[in-house]
Amino acid sequence: MLSHSNEQEDIRHEMNFKTIVFVCINIIAFSVLILRLLQLQYFDFENNLKKAEENRIRKVNVKASRGYILDRNGIVLVRNRPSYQISLLYNGLKTKENRDSVFNRLLRITDAKGKRLLDSAALHFSFERGRWQKFRYQRLMEDAAPEVVALFEERAEELPGIEILVESRRDYPFGSQGAHIFGYTGEISEKELELPENAHYVMGDRIGKKGLEFSYEKEFRGKNGSRHVEVNAMGREMGPVAGMPFEKPVSGNALVTTIDWRIQQVAEAAIPENLKGAVVALNPQNGEIYAMVSRPPLDPNIFSLEKRELHKAWASVALDTAKPLTNRAISGVYPPASVFKVITAAAGLEDNVFTEHTRYKSCLGGFRFGSRYAKCWRAAGHGVLNVVGALRESCDVFFYQAGLDVGSRRISDMGKRFGLGSALGVDIPGERSGLLIDSATYEKWFERRGWKWSAGEILNIAIGQGALLVTPLQQTAMVGALAWGNGVYKPHFLKEITSPDGEVLIKFKREKVAEGQVLEHTRKIVLKGLDEVVNSPYGTGRRAIVPGIRVGGKTGSAENPHGEKTHAWFAAVAPLDNPEIAVGVVLENAGGGGAMAAPIAQKILKAYFYPDTLQVETK
């Protein structure tokens, strides 16, 4: 009995000690927990509260509406349209069962023709990415068509987590018309995001990539607004937060262009299909561009397409050997051909190398220079001509001899005076400078290749071939400036920038970019030549005649290494005594300038001078 109670005493002592150990461990553990709570709830309280508020309140960007592009008379050329994005909010799926059933239902959605709307691999990728970004919208289908949106809306009940977001996209109501001028917008790239001037953009924003969309991005984009909403963990908006400011978005400014849409449409229609080339119409007195067309055409709406479609469309235009993406009016460089003879003529007349009355050796269809026999375009020959006649009939033999007298230096100086050889600074990207050099520069440039300026080279230059390249824009501005006689003005599309309220913010002031002047008597003689090209019965450009208007012009047929047929050139300016419009046309491998290009210039001039006879399409 005694030993039994002793044993009990021992156990009691041992247990007493061990219970104290247990309680001590409890006290230590709870003290640690309480200290941590104190840290979180007292010392880090402000910080944690801020984080909770940030969680709760989300600043939602309200995107500003992009500014429109208008023609000079107020016709809307580029506007916006709603675009529907079918998106997945992974957290909205809630359960794994939902995840699988939604995935399978999405796969089963087909269009009217029974074609699957969503690609299984792409969908799988979106779901996988959603798993890591549960609270972010994953775009399943970009820019869905209204009937597709309806398909998804009907099934909204069975598709938890699938939401339709509305964005604004660019709309080009006239399709490919003017596409090369307007350019296009696209999702901002990572490289663009890094640029300091793009600090206001976020991933997924759209930005002007080319053309006017690029040049006037700053004006178009406006200012995004913001509002504060309370959101739950799924990112779903629960409602506005009282007392938080709503910052209204400010719409972008509109660009009123110098484009005259009637002329643009006539120009678009005038170019025969399947021909490549460009047309430019501008006002030589101030550089306002009335119309600019490049062919083959480009449909700018493809750049608003859903990504997969865009890639396909992009590949097809980018790999097209006809290069529809290139704006040939500013980025295409061609030999100026016989149009350049006006420069050779002006250079000679200006320094009295020859006069109006100078007659060179008779043209018998060709010209022997050393061992070389240079042909005239007219095998029958032109006989003896003065400079006006040589311009009128575009006699090569006259200009071979004139070129030899004038020399490359004078010719290139005269070209520079009218803006050739350097970019004119038009307000859309991609303009090229062409090529205009004298013999000394030629030798310096091509020294490494071992090329020497041969005396015969001047024969080519004098008639606009050889080491000589111009853009259609330069060609047009050059002829216009020669007629105007008062300088080359920067060609531009910007007429006005107007605020959303209609207030004019910026007005373009004309800007001289090249001297563009010759002596009055030089100008008179050259203009007489231009006049006779169109209005004389012997002129090469008679197809550009506009009744009642004194049109001047110059044809050209550029030989080129790529095709059998020549590039057809025509540059016109009218009325000659007070030029209001200059038109340049180039058609690649189309044949002779007088036959192919002059009629197009005529249509444009008629549209300009007789607008009442036109039916204008507006949208």
């Binding site: 219970t19 709870f30 104190l38 709830q41 007292y42 984080k51 909770a52 963990a233």
Partner: protein
């Protein structure tokens, strides 16, 4: 002595009331009719749990000795069943359907193991000097441990481990024995973290075993176990793929992946921290109401408490838990009987371990393991397990004397 411990009972009812209130607050924003809501179901759980606990209390204390082996056998059988054909909930097969009721066998296995281990150890003392004394209790532990681990349910398996260690302590181990006993496991972890810590650990083990005059064979065995455990662990660590390693590191430190694993922990800390000293008020937390806290009514109920009632509320709840465990463990002092002692300390250990791991998890001190918080977290099986443990504690307090 037969009187009820009012401090114990008061703490218990306070915790249960607070728990129901928090579940209500965490789940009230639904469109369900009141009788389908989770807070109402939780009341039902506690009602059922109380009835079961009352039944437990009114059994004679000897009854638990008699049913210990049967309960253990049934628990093992049901664990085997669930491992082979369990419901899959959140990727882990833990549930079993019996007669229309879903329950988690691992919950009841906790109680069954507690009883079986208590019964064996009440008659057989363990000593680290005599390894054969560890054979039976070791087997009793390892079988349910492995079955639960296979579910996989690491956290519940760790509950078994905690009970075993405390039971060994009560049944003959000294603290230094325990230290030596767990040192190989510590080696596994330390050697993976840093070679320096591991070396320090081995040196510590060596000197302590010399200081306490352990027999040579035990010292050699312990050292061998430690060193080989460390090397095996290092080898396993090095042979792992990067993503496996990354998973383990993320498990240990969720902040490595703030958008994935760490999301819950970060949101939980923000919820608790933003409660401040006195909280945002009942039903007011934006973190809770706007569903930033996942699992808020089960594993992360403590965050709801912290957000809505602040430091004051969290402190009060921790004090209540402490009072409960303190008054619970003190039952040992009433009856100097081994079985009573082991049941009481085991029950207290289960509840304490759950509380500690759960709260530590919500404040970012421990990995997210999925152990619920006793009396506060929503969940049928778990509420009933807790109530059975409470019933056992009361039973031992009131009737423990009869057992002798």
């Amino acid at each position: 002595m037969k009187k009820l411990d009012w401090l114990f009972m008061g703490s218990l009812f306070a915790l249960i009331s607070i728990g129901i209130m928090l579940v209500y607050s965490a789940t009230s924003n639904t469109d369900l009719p009141w009788y389908k809501t989770e807070w109402f179901k939780q009341i039902i759980h506690f009602a059922v749990g109380s009835i079961i606990a009352a039944g437990v209390v009114f059994m004679p204390a000897k009854f638990w000795k008699n049913v210990a082996w049967i309960a253990y056998a049934v628990a093992l059988a049901s664990l085997l069943l669930v491992v082979n054909s369990g419901h899959v909930s959140k990727g882990a097969g833990r549930w079993l359907d019996i007669a229309g009721f879903r329950f988690q066998p691992s919950e009841f296995a906790k109680v069954a193991y507690l009883l079986a281990s208590s019964l064996w150890l009440s008659k057989h003392r363990v000593s680290i000097m005599e390894p054969k004394t560890l054979l039976v209790p070791g087997l009793l532990f390892i079988v349910p441990f492995l079955l639960v681990l296979k579910q996989p349910n690491l956290s519940t398996a760790l509950v078994f481990t905690a009970v075993t260690l405390v039971h060994f302590y009560w049944a003959g181990f000294r603290l230094v024995d325990l230290f030596l006993f767990v040192s190989p496991a510590a080696s596994v972890i330390f050697s993976a973290i840093s070679a320096l810590y591991w070396n320090l650990l081995i040196i510590g083990v060596f000197f302590i075993s010399i200081k306490f005059k352990f027999p040579l064979w035990l010292i050699v065995l312990t050292m061998l176990l430690n060193i080989s455990a460390g090397y095996v662990s290092q080898m396993a660590w090095n042979s792992m793929e990067d993503h496996q390693r990354s998973r383990i590191l993320t498990f240990l430190d969720p902040m490595r992946d703030p958008k994935g694993e760490g999301y819950q922990v970060i949101q939980s800390q923000v919820a608790i921290g933003s409660g401040g000293l006195f909280g945002k008020g009942f039903g007011e937390g934006s973190q809770t109401n706007l569903a930033f806290l996942p699992e808020e009514h089960t594993d992360f109920i403590f965050s709801v408490l912290g957000e809505q009632f602040g430091f004051a509320g969290s402190f009060l709840v921790l004090v209540l838990f402490f009072l409960l465990f303190w008054r619970g463990i003190m039952i040992c002092r009433l009856h100097p009987d081994n079985f009573v002692n082991l049941v009481v300390v085991g029950a207290c250990t289960i509840l304490f371990f759950h509380t500690l791991v759960n709260v530590a998890m919500t404040i970012g001190f421990m990995p997210v393991t999925g152990l619920p918080l006793p009396f506060l977290s929503y969940g049928g099986s778990f509420v009933i397990t807790c109530m059975i443990l409470i019933g056992l504690l009361l039973n031992m307090r009131l009737k423990g004397k009869d057992i002798i």
